[in-house]
Every structure is written in structure tokens, then in C-alpha cells.
């Protein structure tokens, strides 16, 4: 008898929990995940929140999400401006993951964390100053990011050395965003893969 009452209470609690969790699910936001992360929904399902990837990362790039991540609480993420993914040759984070929430990365070009986007209004290279920091620091220099030379509009003496992203090649590591000399707003920012489809 007591068992059935408990079962009933659990069912009621279960329905309430379901509604609450669905609400939390809506609160989840796209964020930069470590290399090899599956698409966001699959990632939230597969990640056991064990933190092994965090401990495996030699650069302490991976942070563990707090309550403001909704259902993503306890999952790994990266804040590129503070500390990007340094694209280790052997991907210790991916190797540490027990559940294949992070998987399928053999070489750097397999990584698809997101795509860097340049804010031409903030980028000083587009204003005519030579900067090139993002270009020089990109581990995939001349592939993911190139410099485009042109004359400054309405000025036939000075040239523009403007960084341009190749979205096909950019892996979204965020090193450029970390190194960008302009802040507030940062002139180059990685759009996490999941959010890209919203734009």
C-alpha cells in the first residue's frame, strides 16, 4: 500500500519535474563547447558532467557551467576571450571524455567549434591601421584567416590590410578573439556552431 502511494507521489513529482526541466531547457543557450562536441542537444544528452575534459586540458581552457546554463549545468564550455582552446595536437580533452560527448577529432581541421566573425566597425585594420594580430596568431594562418589588400576607399596612398575569415576552414578555437587588441567590443568573435544557424 505504502509502495503505491509512493509511486503515485513520484508520478506527480515526475510530471512537475518534467515541466520544470522543459522550462530549464528553454533557458539553455548556445555556447562555445570544447573540440569534438556533438551538436548541442546531443551534447546535453551525452555529457555526464564528469569534468574529465576540464582536468585533462593542459591550458585550463575548459570551464564547468554554473546554474545560469539551465540544463547545461555542469557541462564544459570555453570563454574564448579569457582563455581560448589552444588546439592541442593530441586533443587530451577529447581523449578524456568517457561518453563520446566529445569525439571524432583526429587532426586540427576536424574541429568545428564555431566560426570567427569580424566586426568591421570595431576592427582597426578596416580603419587603415596595420594590426594583423588575429591573422598572425591564428594556428591556421592563411587558411582560416587571410589578409586582403586593397586601397582605402577615397584614399589612393594608404592601403587596407583587412583580415578575412574563411568559414570553411575556421575551426572556432577563439585564439583570435583572445588576442584581439580591441576590446569592448572585441573586433573578432567566435560564433558557437549551434548559434550559427540562428544568425
Amino acid at each position: 500500500m505504502a509502495g503505491w502511494q509512493a509511486l503515485l507521489k513520484t508520478l506527480v513529482g515526475g510530471v512537475a519535474a518534467y515541466e520544470l526541466l522543459r522550462l530549464m531547457q528553454k533557458g539553455s543557450k548556445p555556447t562555445l563547447r570544447p573540440p569534438g562536441a556533438r551538436d548541442e542537444d546531443e551534447f546535453l544528452a551525452l555529457c555526464s558532467r564528469c569534468g574529465k575534459c576540464n582536468q585533462a586540458c593542459p591550458y585550463d581552457s575548459i570551464q564547468m557551467a554554473s546554474v545560469d546554463f539551465g540544463l547545461g549545468l555542469g557541462t564544459p564550455y570555453i570563454t574564448a576571450r579569457d582563455n581560448p582552446c589552444w588546439l592541442c595536437e593530441d586533443f587530451p580533452c577529447v581523449n578524456a571524455c568517457p561518453t563520446e560527448a566529445l569525439s571524432g577529432i583526429k587532426v586540427r581541421s576536424d574541429v568545428k567549434m564555431g566560426v570567427a566573425v569580424i566586426n568591421k566597425d570595431a576592427c582597426i585594420a578596416y580603419k587603415g591601421l596595420r594590426c594583423e594580430v588575429c591573422y598572425r596568431e591564428c594556428p591556421l594562418i592563411d587558411e582560416a584567416i587571410t589578409l586582403q589588400y586593397s586601397l582605402r576607399p577615397g584614399d589612393n596612398i594608404h592601403a587596407l590590410f583587412a583580415p578575412v575569415i574563411n568559414p570553411e576552414k575556421c575551426v572556432g578555437c577563439g585564439i583570435c578573439e583572445h588576442k584581439c587588441v580591441v576590446s569592448d567590443p572585441v573586433a573578432i568573435k567566435v560564433t558557437p556552431r549551434g548559434a550559427g544557424e540562428l544568425l
Binding site: 515526475g14 518534467y18 546535453l44 551525452l46 564528469c50 569534468g51 574529465k52 554554473s66 561518453t99
Partner: protein, 280 residues
């Protein structure tokens, strides 16, 4: 007669501390050649290259993702087998950091007069089933998010402030509403281990000739005092309930040496079969 030294308590405290030190070791051990001999959390860890994962967590992830990953499931099977052999809830009193915390809450209860609301102890099995059902329905390993065990681990290992709210609620609940309430009645991990707990090879055994029915053991039981009842009344020759965490507190407290902790005896009286099916 005088109660002997609390040898199980001493042994258990030692193991609890060693386990905490093991999990915290990546924080203070210098990495040898870039790799620690141990890292991870109770959700999943790695020791000397061997992967170990929490079975209930693995079930949730598998149901949520609707995918099978054999390496991961294998690492959970290792842990599952260990607890199947020992007795499921050994995890609770010897390993779980939430229990370590709540044992201190329990000490506070001794100093104050506080109410103790009782619930059905099988509730935690239903909570466990609900957790699995919800993980499947929502596609997220539900308990891994709010789990107080997870938040203790994450807060110790990664940074303070991750998901402390649920943990705080549990501490308050245990303190103000129900003695050891979370572990006794609601924790799905406890529920999971309760289910497999009755098969364990180790049990609390009773010597009916020595037992004087003083009920001291029931006062200290971590799991739920009622699980000792069949043994005391002579229905069982050992505590068969899957709830028993083999904490040894009852053995320590019994001043008549009627209780021992050891291998499961074969001579369970016939009527015990009934109580075993009704008390998982």
C-alpha cells in the same frame, strides 16, 4: 557488558577520507609527465588508465542520448560488478561525499530537538525510476544536473558556486524535517544501489542467542531502523534488506556482540524468503 572500540567507524572514516583525498589528488599532486595517476569525479574517473563510471549516470546518459557506447558502458559495468559483489549501498556509507556531509548534519541533530518525519524507504527506488524516465523523455541525464553528489564533486574540484542550491536544500531537509531523510528515502543513487543491494556477498549477521532485543542497533542505523527488525525478531539470520549500507554502526554499538559484518551465511530461515521479496 561494554561496547568495544568502534572499529567499523574508524575503518569507515579512514576509507571516506582516503576517497576524498583520491578525488582531490589532481588539485595538489604535481602532474608527472603531464598525467596524474588519477583524475575525474564520481560520475566518471580514470585510475592508472582504467576508466570507471557511475552505473546510474551511464544509464541516464544512455537513455537520454538513445545511443550505446560500449567503452562507457563497460566502465560502468566495472563499478556495478564491484557493488553487486560487496553490497550496493556500500557506496553510500563508504564513498558518497554527500553522506559524509550529512553525517555531520546528523551530529547537529543530536544537540537540538528536531522533528523526524518518516517516509516510505522504497520511495528512492521510484525516484530512481522517475529519473530514468525523465532522462529518456527530456533527453538529458536529469539527475547528473541537480545531483548533490555531482555538486559536491564539482564544487570541490572545479569552482565554488556550481549548483549549490539543491545541496543546501537537502542539508536543511535532513536537519529540520527528517533525520537522514535524503539518503533514507529520496536519493535515486541510493535507490539504485538498494535494488542491487540484496544480492551482495557481505551482510550484517545476527547471533540470535546473544541478542537481548535492546534495540540499540536500530537507534544508530544509517539506512532505516526497520531493516534490522526481521533479524532482531529472529526471522532472519542476516539483514537482507538492500537498504543496508554495511556501515557497521550497528555492529559497533551492540554491547552484546550479537552482530557481525561478514560474508553472507547460507542458513537464512525459510520465512525470510517472503520478507526478501517485500523489502528490496
Amino acid at each position: 557488558m561494554r561496547a568495544s572500540v568502534k572499529k567499523w567507524m574508524i575503518l569507515r572514516r579512514t576509507v571516506q577520507i582516503l576517497i576524498l583525498l583520491l578525488f582531490l589528488s589532481p588539485l595538489f599532486l604535481v602532474k608527472v609527465e603531464g598525467d596524474n595517476f588519477f583524475y575525474g569525479s564520481l560520475a566518471s574517473s580514470q585510475i592508472f588508465g582504467i576508466q570507471l563510471s557511475d552505473p546510474l549516470g551511464a544509464l541516464q546518459v544512455t537513455l537520454a542520448a538513445k545511443e550505446l557506447h560500449w567503452g562507457y558502458l563497460g566502465s560502468a559495468l566495472l563499478i556495478l560488478t564491484a557493488y553487486l559483489l560487496l553490497s550496493g549501498r556500500v557506496f553510500c556509507s563508504w564513498v558518497c561525499p554527500v553522506n559524509t556531509l550529512l553525517e555531520t548534519t546528523d551530529l547537529l541533530r543530536k544537540k537540538l530537538k528536531l522533528p523526524d518525519k518518516r517516509f516510505a524507504r522504497n520511495t528512492k527506488v521510484y525516484v530512481m525510476l522517475a529519473v530514468l524516465g525523465l532522462s529518456f523523455a527530456i533527453g538529458v541525464p536529469v539527475f547528473e544536473i541537480i545531483s548533490p553528489i555531482g555538486s559536491v564533486m564539482r564544487n570541490l574540484l572545479f569552482l565554488w558556486g556550481i549548483g549549490l542550491f539543491f545541496l543546501t536544500a537537502i542539508v536543511l531537509f535532513d536537519l529540520l524535517v527528517s533525520k537522514r531523510g535524503w539518503c533514507r528515502y529520496f536519493c535515486p543513487v541510493g535507490g539504485f544501489y538498494q535494488l542491487i543491494g540484496r544480492f551482495g556477498l557481505f551482510r550484517v549477521r545476527i547471533d540470535h542467542d546473544k541478542c537481548v532485543h535492546c534495540q540499540q542497533c536500530k537507534k544508530v542505523c544509517f539506512a532505516e531502523p526497520s531493516i534490522l527488525e526481521p533479524a532482531i525478531t529472529g526471522k532472519e539470520s542476516f539483514v537482507s534488506a538492500g537498504d543496508c549500507s554495511l556501515c557497521g554502526a550497528c555492529v559497533d554499538v551492540c554491547s552484546h556482540q550479537a552482530l557481525t559484518l561478514g560474508l553472507r551465511p547460507y542458513n537464512q530461515p525459510a520465512q525470510a524468503g517472503k520478507s526478501m521479496t517485500t523489502n528490496p
